[in-house]
Amino acid sequence: MRDATRTTDGDLSDSDLMRRTAAGDRDAFTVLYQRHHAMVYRFARLMTGSNSAAEDIVQEVFLVVMRDAARYDPARAALSSYLYGVARHHTRRRLARDRQFVAFDGECCDTAQYVTEVDVNATLERRQTLQQLRRAILSLPRKYREVIVLCDLQSVSYNDAAAALGCAVGTIRSRLHRARNLLTQKMGCAMASEEDHQRQSVRCAV
């Protein structure tokens, strides 16, 4: 996670960029966007299961940055934690508005990643597993989904996740433990039903 006060190779730190953004510096705002848009987008996409919802959330998060940059206090949290917090708020609102989890749009880049593999069966199997995992994550209660997305899929530390979610580090640990157990169960059920389906298909073919 990027340190809010760090300056590397002459680059401005996040807090400097936020100060400049608050003063109306468009270039600073653009740099902030380029640094952080991907993590916000991925978080929102994994939380909602929808590309279009994630795009909306990215826009809303950076509108907040644009308007409230002056309120950001680097002493309280790293900018990434702050952005995750804002993204989480807008994700919750979006999910509450939609009232249901939307199916994944299906435009995943894992096709590009695995298309070169020789073993087609293994590729399909892996892709299937990823789809099952995505569905399982989307079916988790929101508080467990948040920790899985942040800690396991976005590589956010426990401390930063606690800052983003506004809870204690111990809560993050316990939620993560519970979330992984739930995921294991769900994935086990999904695998079992998939095996049943394959067995039935084979029986039909015979």
């Binding site: 916000v40 987008y41 990215v58 990823l130």
Partner: protein, 155 residues
């Protein structure tokens, strides 16, 4: 990446694969365009609103000056009229005629104002009694053309 227990090895593998798959996902470029367009719109609005507020302030100052001049003229008229003779109405209020007389059947409007008693005393309205700090209700009768015709002062 946070540590995952050994017994969750299958899940850890799957999560790691999903993490790698997600890591190469980028926000579509049109989102950046929309965000920057929002920035430009917001800041163009802010810049444009500055001259507008200057005009608003100028208009407010002009209105205040007009009202002050109008009140001063009204005060002078009032002083001249009261030096002649205040008319007493039946309900023991003083009716001060200022400017043009009210024509029969002329539609008028009445505007109620609260002014310090000292101000009216200074204008020579003897009907007003009370301490100088006290406020008195005054009815200003305004003609159809917007010009004050009379002022009625209560006791």
């Amino acid at each position: 990446m946070t540590s995952i227990r050994h017994e969750d090895y299958g899940l850890a593998d799957a999560l790691e694969a999903l993490r790698r798959a997600e890591a190469c996902i980028e926000t579509p470029p049109h989102v950046e365009a929309a965000v920057l367009a929002a920035w430009d719109e917001e800041h163009a609005h802010r810049t444009a609103s500055r001259p507008r507020s200057l005009w608003r302030n100028a208009a407010a100052v002009a209105a205040a000056i007009t009202i002050a001049i109008g009140l001063a003229q009204l005060g002078q008229q009032l002083q001249r009229t009261t030096q002649r003779a205040p008319e007493r109405s039946e309900d023991s209020r003083t009716l001060l005629l200022v400017g043009e007389p009210i024509l029969q059947g002329e539609p008028v409007r009445m505007v109620r104002m609260r002014v310090p008693a000292a101000t009216l005393t200074g204008l020579g309205v003897r009907a007003v009694t009370g301490t100088p700090g006290e406020h008195v209700d005054v009815d200003v009768i305004v003609g159809e053309d917007g010009v004050a015709r009379a002022i009625r002062v209560g006791r």
